[in-house]
Amino acid sequence: MNELPVVSIQNLRKSFTMNDGSGLLVLDDISLNVLQGEMVGFIGCSGCGKTTLLRIVGGFENPDSGYVLVDGKAHSQPEKSVLMLFQDLNQLLPWKTVLSNVTAPLLATGAAATKKEAESRALKRIAEVGLEKFAAAYPHQISGGMKQRAALARALALQPRVLLMDEPFASLDNITRKSLQILTRSVCEKYGVTVLFVTHSIDEAVIMADRIVVLNMNPGSIREVFDNSGRENLTSAQRGQRTGDVMASLGMGEM
């Protein structure tokens, strides 16, 4: 693993103005370096600023102070090298088939020179997420899990440096969720994509993340960072122990 950070978050601070004009500090002094190919999961209670943090890293929001570097360069605007996979199950364009949804960004961004080349690349990504039989289907004809697979294929087709995932599997059933966690992990590993994801699920963080960042609430700040490397070789007892550690850090120990 290359030791130079791909994503460097430095002293991020963000507040929102409330309706009564007062300021609400949402994120306070968040700093973190994420290495090439690393998968980092952010976990915390609702409203602790996880999504805001991800949106700042994606360039969708600007921090009050602090900055984000991607490959050493300031990152303050959305860019195709740092792609966001949204929580919304309806993020695919409904007027395009699965294949066209994956092909469109390749053509629109000039990542593929011809339609043939774009389709060939798109079909490979679609096959990798197990949707080859549904390439000609429209989004409304496939399930929520399939839509998220297609969205993953669409993102990976552009070969991003960084993939940001905002609770992408939150609205899915447990079985679909598990299979997507494993799939996402394996395809991102295959392409060396650095992943930052937000989740409510401790299990999801333990299954997917190399490091788990537990956030404080009001304002959101880093409480603890767990090293979760070697998670694939954990016994169920060890996995249970690690889940328990994260739960304890979240203040759920006595539950």
């Binding site: 969708f60 195709k80 993020q91 007027w95």
Partner: protein
């Protein structure tokens, strides 16, 4: 688990089909109409039998009396639609590029959309005279505001996730427009044109009746009006029947097909 299933016969299935039901109701109404007229329950001069109206319609078409009038009305309405679509496209683009204009256009839509075109006729006659220009103004009034209202509603209803995805892959404003916005507002465009078509058709026929003959022809409305002046109710009904047939044809061949091939196929149609 035991379920009670009723097996339907083939004939029952046919009768439950919505299209078949509609045609059956229509056939029943026409039969009643024919019977009432033929039996003399209503005077035949006031309510000619349907078969006679149909025969007259065919005759008028074959002798070339009605065809040119229909073509004249359709030509005017087509010009009005083209003009409305062009104006709506320009206004829509301006609203997207200059958001402060959106409030003005929304306000104009709220004021003008509920206003019946026929209520504006005196003003339109004063401004445009009794001319094709006045007809076009009436049609544009019927179509434009309905279309703009639907398009702007569609635009504001575009899911944020589409825009954010577009921003994320750095789509240019032009690509955002041609690749996302136009498709996302398609349900609004179809709904707006559908409402506009109904309004424009009504306004045109009314105006043709009131204006009398403009140029060499007067259109369908003029045909109906002059037929009434000669107390020829069979011709009046032949004219009305042709309006109904044109309405149904445009709906089923243009709007329904357009909807089926686009927003229904994409799962974007509101049931």
């Amino acid at each position: 688990m035991m379920g009670i299933q009723r097996k339907m016969s083939g004939i029952q299935k046919i009768f439950l089909n919505k299209t078949v039901q509609s045609w059956l109701w229509l056939a029943l109404i026409l039969l009643v109409w024919e019977a009432v007229s033929r039996a003399g329950i209503v005077n035949r001069h006031i309510l000619p039998p349907f078969s006679l109206v149909l025969e007259r319609l065919c005759n008028e078409l074959l002798t070339g009396k009605l065809g040119p009038q229909i073509c004249n009305s359709l030509l005017v309405i087509l010009q009005g639609f083209a003009l409305s679509a062009a104006l709506a496209a320009v206004l829509f683009l301006l609203c997207i590029r200059l958001p402060f204009l959106t409030n003005l256009v929304t306000m104009l839509c709220a004021v003008c959309n509920p206003l019946p075109g026929i209520a504006l006729l005196p003003l339109i006659i004063m401004w445009f005279g009794v001319s094709t220009g006045a007809m076009l103004a009436l049609i544009v009034h019927g179509v434009l505001w309905a279309l703009m209202t639907q398009m702007l509603e569609g635009y504001h209803g575009i899911p944020a996730v589409y825009r954010e995805w577009g921003r994320n892959i750095n789509l240019t404003p032009m690509r955002m427009l041609t690749g996302i916005v136009i498709f996302a507002v398609m349900p609004g465009i179809i709904a707006g044109l559908r409402i506009g078509w109904g309004r424009a058709w009504r306004a045109l026929i009314s105006a043709e009746m009131l204006f009398g003959m403009i140029g060499q022809l007067g259109g369908l409305g003029y045909y109906i009006y002059t037929s009434r002046a000669y107390a020829n109710l069979t011709n009046v009904m032949a004219g009305v029947l042709s309006i109904i047939v044109i309405g149904i044809t445009v709906e089923s061949l243009l709007f329904a097909q357009w909807e089926k091939r686009t927003i229904r196929k994409w799962g974007m149609a509101h049931e």
